[in-house]
Every structure is written in structure tokens, then in C-alpha cells.
Point group: C2
Chain length 194, copies 2
């Protein structure tokens, strides 16, 4: 996706520890035009999948998801992160382990908004180890809905999340795949990955 | 704003303690078409204000803000909530007291994305006691930027946040004002409030 590639190369910053900082257009400051383009691209890739809901995770997943929902004409549900869940009566919950922070967090959605007749597109901003995407997939499966696929804005192709998700049989659509952040340089995968 | 009024009356739920639950279209599940309409309405109301940035608070403020940013053609910055701030070097920070939870939380933005030449539109999903809006106004003032006004999706007109913000001289634009949640019934203010 050219506009996204260009933005990453021009405005992404590589920090020590293979961290790509995209705070200027995705994770803290948000570029709404770029989000619209991203939403349109997800909608195009999943246009024949019969999507009825988009599911994402707060906070950085919300902007691209709302644009995808707008284009697909379907509602968006965002899972909430909670340190500990005291009230779990009407919730589906999954535990997400963060390798970066070495902590586990629960994520949850209400039982009210996704059901067994839904076809769900999961969207997240980043894919690295795949733990957040697995959590969102688990929430989808708990609802009884069909998981049509997982849309990712930026995949770190040198980490194992993409492989892990594919091995589980999930369809992954990453709009940008980073092959390396070595030498503080972003190397993007340029071939189309199908 | 008719479409928003209709949505609140049809899909809002009143819970004990004067809580209005709008989880089905704003706070958990999001209606993207409604968000677009809300964004357009904010953009219309502030079209002559010379807005250069929209500032909001994660997570429920993001969807309406991204649509407002799209319509105004400006970036959106979302403040993050953090229990305690260990790394504050490049951040502006404000403390927000929650009367509901009786706790204080810090909210923060990077120093990189809003500066003294910016004209900021603050947007939030709810206005009750006004503490979150005051926090966002404080962040804006710390940057040296001009605060053009505060756009609110739903104002609880029977709580004192609106009055508090007006007394401080801020321009407030609330797209729906709730006059009462007594008897588990939503009473919306129907006259146009200028």
C-alpha cells in the first residue's frame, strides 16, 4: 500500500530494540486521510467475505477500524484492556501476554454486540508476536461468530506473529510488512504478499 | 443534532446513578456512519475557527475525533491515560479527577505534535463534571496553542461541567444535551443552544 509505505519511510522512527515508532500518524497523532485510505484498503481486500462486524483493540486500532467499518457499512467493536476483571458477568475475556512489557493483560468485549451469526474482521495496528491478534481471535471464537480474517496495518515480518497466525489457519492481510529494522533503517517488503 | 438524538433515545440505556449507557454506538460498539455525521457537525460548527489540530482522550473520543479531523483536514492527537507516569520527559501532563471512580488519573500528550502556532479543537464523548475536558484544556494551554473550543458528543446538562467550562471562557459545542435521566428516562434538550 504505497501511501502507507511512504508514510512509514518518511515519518517512522527506529528506536533501540527493534521498535518502530509511528506516533506521528498512527499511535498518538493520527492522520485521518491515511486512516481512510487504510479503511478502504481493508474493505477492498475483504469485500467478498460477508463481514458484519469489525473487532479491534483500544486505542490505536480504533481509527483504522472505524474507517474500515464506514467503508464496509458495518459496526465496529473495540475490546477493552483491563488490568484485572472484577465484573465479568456479561463479558467474553482473553488474556494477552506482552513480550515487550512481560506482563499479561485481559482484554474483553460485551456479550451484547457480536453473536454466532456474525462474520468478523479483526483489525489491529501492529502485528509482532501475534498475542493481541490471538486474543481478538479468541474473543471472536467465544462469541460463536465466524472469523473472516485479520487485517494488520503494520506487520513486523521478522517476528513470528504472522507465521503463528497463518499456522492456525487465519487469513492475514497486512498493509505493510517490515522485513528489518537493523541499523536503525526500515526495510519494507515490496513484493505483494498473498 | 437529529440523528444523534434519535440514536440516544432508541439505543441509550439509563442505569442507576444517572448513568447513560451508550455502549451500542459510541463507547464500545461504534456506529461509523454516526461518527461521520458527528465529525461533519463539529467541522461545520468550527469551520471558521482556523483549527489546525483536534485533541481528544482515548478511547471513546477517538472515533468522533478522527471523523472531525477528516472533515477539517487536520491531524488528531489522542491523550493517553496512565495510572502513574514514570517517563515524563517529553510529555505534557494533566491530572483528571473522576468523581465516579473517586480516583485521579494522569493524562498526557507528547510535546512533539501540538505547538504554539496550533489552533486546537478539543473533542470528547461525554461532558459531566468537566474534569476530562479541563484536563485536555490544560494540556492545550501547556503547549502554548490556542484553544478554539470544546466539542462534546453528549453533555449531561444536569451536571455542572458545562457551566464550569463556560465560566472559564471556553466555547462549548455539545451535539446532544441531556436535561434529565430521572425515572430511567432520557430527557433531551430540544432547543438549539448557542
Amino acid at each position: 500500500m504505497d501511501i502507507l509505505h511512504k508514510k512509514i519511510l518518511e515519518h517512522g522512527h527506529v528506536l533501540p530494540g527493534n521498535v518502530l515508532k509511528v506516533d506521528s500518524f498512527l499511535n498518538h497523532q493520527i492522520d485521518p486521510e491515511l486512516m481512510l485510505a487504510i479503511g478502504k484498503e481493508f474493505a477492498t481486500r475483504f469485500k467478498d467475505a460477508g463481514i458484519t462486524k469489525v473487532l479491534t483493540l483500544e486505542s490505536s486500532g480504533i481509527a483504522p477500524s472505524v474507517m474500515a467499518g464506514l467503508e464496509l457499512g458495518v459496526p465496529v467493536v473495540f475490546a477493552r484492556k483491563r488490568k484485572s476483571l472484577t465484573l465479568v458477568e456479561n463479558l467474553y475475556t482473553a488474556t494477552v501476554y506482552s513480550y515487550t512489557k512481560q506482563t499479561s493483560n485481559d482484554i474483553s468485549i460485551s456479550k451484547d454486540y457480536i453473536g454466532e451469526n456474525d462474520v468478523v474482521l479483526v483489525i489491529d495496528d501492529f502485528l509482532a508476536n501475534g498475542q493481541a491478534a490471538l486474543g481478538l481471535a479468541s474473543l471472536t471464537e467465544q462469541t460463536g461468530a465466524t472469523l473472516a480474517g485479520i487485517g494488520i496495518v503494520i506487520e513486523k515480518g521478522f517476528q513470528d506473529g504472522g507465521q503463528l497466525l497463518k499456522e492456525r489457519g487465519y487469513r492475514i492481510e497486512s498493509l505493510a510488512v517490515i522485513d528489518s529494522l537493523e541499523n536503525e533503517t526500515v526495510t519494507l517488503r515490496t513484493e505483494e504478499v498473498k
